[in-house]
Symmetry: C2
Subunit: 221 residues, 2 copies
Amino acid sequence: MRMKELARRSGIPVPTIKYYLRESLLASGTATAPNQASYDEHHLRRLRLIRALIDVGGLSITDTRDVLRAADDADEFHPDLLGATHSALGTARRPPVSEDRRAAAAKEVDEFVTRRGWQIHPGNPALDRLADVIATLRTLDLDRVCETLDAYADAATELAEHEVRLLARLADPDEQGDGQPRPDAMEAVVAGSILGKALLYALHALAREAVATRTFDQSSS
Amino acid sequence: MRMKELARRSGIPVPTIKYYLRESLLASGTATAPNQASYDEHHLRRLRLIRALIDVGGLSITDTRDVLRAADDADEFHPDLLGATHSALGTARRPPVSEDRRAAAAKEVDEFVTRRGWQIHPGNPALDRLADVIATLRTLDLDRVCETLDAYADAATELAEHEVRLLARLADPDEQGDGQPRPDAMEAVVAGSILGKALLYALHALAREAVATRTFDQSSS
């Protein structure tokens, strides 16, 4: 199909598609004439994925490119593929906490990870993020929140176990019904990973309101 | 203390503090002379809170103002106070999905919320966010992820129950040890709510890597 048809079917304007081509998020079409190219269903699927990662997953253009590259380079599901989808966490700003407090928090994170028996790559930006959050909580005299780290980690682990099973199934040809791997299996893993995060965040916000309302109604009746 | 001292102790530059004053995030100091004001420990605490919400919580200036206003207006813990902290969710972009698919997803969210027995205010932006995520998952042929909504909701509910108990304790004078309410109890609730979210997100990223690595190591050995 021509660029115009690709824009119509994806709902994405032509200049935006051209931008994704320049930024190497989308592969070039097949040249059919000078200044003319033809695009296929793969381009359409890829465009939908790009917009899902940016609009719903909240990824930047750079993070989107990194994540898609990881998906293109992988031929099976592995932890590093999931690791690439953590990049969106790395953009938070450093809070103004003292050096001492930041160092103590980093040590606390280190001990916590060891105690939980978690194998974490030192480059995972969530390690720094967690230390920032802990240092900030202590600066605000919210040590009590830090004391309940395990409750958060338990819920996060339960969820992660569910997600990893789900993502492994998305990558498994035996699970596709016809025994054929879906052509976009690794794209599906990446999309499932990023959108699973968005799903959790939205459900968490809803669950908090539901639980708070229920608790409040009970205590005031 | 003078503005310069406030900047030194908070680690926040003077121009930034002046910006927060203009944007009404921070209350004016007590005038001591024309063009001179004095600030106290409350200002320092508030500045730290503002930076925590922006740097660690990822809130915009506008969202920070809304959340702080809700804390200042509340004299006890209630669900609406928590609701104000959901505002940061509302800024995601709408994905390019068809009108039909979006309407079907909104209906699905509605039924899901009813089935779970959740009482949710119609203005909670997470309802729209959830519908966007579901519509996007279906557009990407990731229906399988949607089928596991309950697993995400179970983990989110368990966590929310923990958090609401924790936040209610932060607001409860009997829990402060000396029987006195802490002067910033509602600020603590808001900070605990926003930073609790940041805590979950970081721990979720770590748990995913830990679980994926464990699963992968087991299956390849």
